[in-house]
């Protein structure tokens, strides 16, 4: 028991320290670092919010890009009319409403059908908005009023902190337990009194909330967007890979995964511009084959083996 509390104090202390260090980044770090960390934070938000729903239920959603893009377009349309915090909030709302609608329609689907539909949604929105912009506005792109690098950075950091708190609250609550039971056996959960459809739709829209917020914040840094930038399918895939790479179950799994992945991508793209996708792919294949529980699971296994051999010597 005592060990548990001291571990918790350590975890909270470490988190606060990291947060304090992160908060100071725009003050002392060069602009390049600030921008790099902003995009790391963005991927962390998408990867973590993806695991809120898809982690426990096992419903693989590839609609992240749609929710992210909905946030971006909210910012693009409202950007100059309202202040940034409100833009982010509205981006979050629009995208979670979209998730409510889509979830209500599609969460009856299971397995591969759900995956295909969610991915189709990204394409659907992309082409719908493309058509709309061309026929209604006569252009394809939009200019988003820029916010400073530091502002976007702090916005992302705030979204991530709120997200992590939300994940903790959900996991500790009865709804987190119910969500896990749905992943374990949907039928049994329903017969034990869980309103499975409502639960899935609500949690799905909570996860979209943060993706939309991240999109709205990111739009103000990208300053120019068009449907192909906003609804980039990679935004659906990469965070899933990050989460799997880091480990889906513990909350720091996708966070670590996103950090390493984004940095790795940056590193490879600058050092090996011609081979970076190839190297990236190989790393991913190896990760999926040999680290079923991600980096976190691997670390735990190694740690266990090490501590066992240490015990063996004494």
């Amino acid at each position: 028991m005592e060990k548990k509390t001291s571990k918790r104090v350590f975890a909270i202390g470490l988190t606060l320290l990291i947060l304090a260090l992160a908060a100071a980044v725009p003050v002392y770090a060069p602009v390049y670092t600030v921008i790099l960390i902003t995009s790391i934070l963005m991927y962390m938000i998408i990867a973590v919010s993806w695991t809120i729903f898809s982690g426990p239920t096992g419903y693989i959603s590839l609609a992240s890009a749609a929710f992210f893009g909905a946030g971006i377009y909210t910012a693009a349309i409202l950007g100059s009319a309202v202040p940034l915090p409100l833009v982010i909030l509205l981006g979050a709302l629009v995208s979670s409403c979209l998730a409510l609608l889509v979830g209500g329609l599609t969460l009856r689907l299971k397995g591969i059908y759900f995956v295909m539909f969610t991915f189709g949604l990204v394409e659907l929105l992309l082409h719908f908005i493309l058509w709309w912009e061309v026929t209604m506005c006569g252009t394809t792109g939009r200019v988003v009023p820029p916010a400073g690098n530091a502002t976007v950075f702090y916005a992302m950091l705030t979204i991530l902190v709120v997200l992590i708190l939300t994940v903790f609250l959900i996991r500790r609550s009865r709804y987190g337990m119910a969500l896990q039971s749905v992943g374990e056996n949907e039928e049994a959960a329903a017969h034990a009194g869980v309103h499975v459809t409502a639960l899935k739709v609500v949690i799905y829209s909570v996860s979209a909330l943060f993706m939309g917020a991240a999109g709205a914040a990111m739009a103000t840094r990208w300053t120019y967007i068009d449907p192909r930038i906003a609804f980039n399918p990679l935004i659906s895939f990469v965070p899933v890979l990050m989460a799997i790479f880091g480990g889906i179950r513990p909350i720091y799994g996708p966070i670590i995964g996103a950090a390493i992945f984004t940095y790795l991508e940056e590193f490879l793209i600058t050092r090996f511009p011609y081979y970076y996708m190839l190297i990236f792919g190989i790393i991913m294949v190896v990760a999926i084959l040999y680290m079923p529980d991600g980096l976190v699971g691997l670390t735990r296994r190694v740690w266990k083996r090490m501590s066992r051999s240490r015990h063996a010597h004494t």
Partner: protein, 243 residues
């Protein structure tokens, strides 16, 4: 008035009548056995009652209210719980959480965490699994997983409990313990409907038995009456009569 009643309940799978025009009454506080050869429609009837599937025609009433067309979670919250023929425990969740889930969600309205913990603790204690509370459900023996399903169902505070082949695959000792558990549930005042192939259990635990064959009800009565029923002997114990 029966606590659970069905009139003309019918369900087809393709052209096959899995349950056809079945009438049934379950009286408050009784233990009703549901027997019949494989494929007789017993589990389908359970699925129809608990709303896992929807009847093609017919009506089912629970506590005087029509429940056809409701969702499984609504029926559970009204006080009708069930277990499954092939165990459906939440394998990667601790035993306690399996039961807590029923305690939290199986009733109408808000259940406080303290209340849920007490209910779950009682249910685990009742089926004798308190010592396994922290283990993962998948690590339990089959007999204990079946008891865990019962505990999860009991945590929803049911008035009627549907037990689907609770004794299938258990050894003799486990069957005796399971029979004892059914008696204890009955003594609690919970109405039990049980599907069972273990004749010893059915004959000694049930007050009344209903026999299904090819989706139709062919007999009903006390264990003695059913055992003496000519039609039942023909379809159910038919092999023995031929020998």
């Amino acid at each position: 008035m029966p606590i659970l009643e069905g009139k003309g309940v019918t369900r087809y799978f393709g052209g096959l009548a899995a349950v056809s025009n079945v009438d049934f009454q379950v009286e408050q506080g009784e233990v009703l056995g549901l027997i019949g050869p494989n494929g007789a429609g017993k589990t389908t009837l359970f699925n129809l009652i608990s709303a896992a599937i929807v009847p093609r025609s017919g009506n089912i009433t629970f506590k005087g209210k029509g429940i056809t067309g409701l969702k499984p979670y609504q029926i559970c919250r009204m006080g009708l719980a069930r277990t499954f023929q092939t165990v459906k425990v939440f394998g990667n969740m601790p035993v306690l959480d399996n039961v807590l889930l029923g305690a939290f969600f199986g009733r109408e309205g808000y259940v406080s965490p303290a209340d849920a913990r007490a209910t779950a603790g009682d249910a685990l204690d009742f089926v004798g699994l308190t010592h396994t509370a922290g283990a993962l459900a998948k690590d339990l023996t089959l007999a204990n997983q079946k008891r865990l399903e019962v505990a999860r169902a009991l945590a929803t505070r049911p008035e009627v409990l549907l037990l689907d082949e609770m004794m299938e695959g258990l050894n003799a000792t486990e069957v005796n313990r399971a029979m004892e558990l059914v008696r204890m549930i009955h003594e609690k005042g919970i109405t039990v409907v049980m599907i069972e192939h273990v004749m010893k259990a059915i004959m000694s635990v049930c007050g009344r038995i209903m026999v299904l064959h090819h989706g139709a009800k062919i007999a009903e009565g006390t264990p003695q009456e059913v055992a003496a029923n000519k039609t039942v002997i023909e379809v159910y114990f038919g092999e023995r009569a031929d020998a």
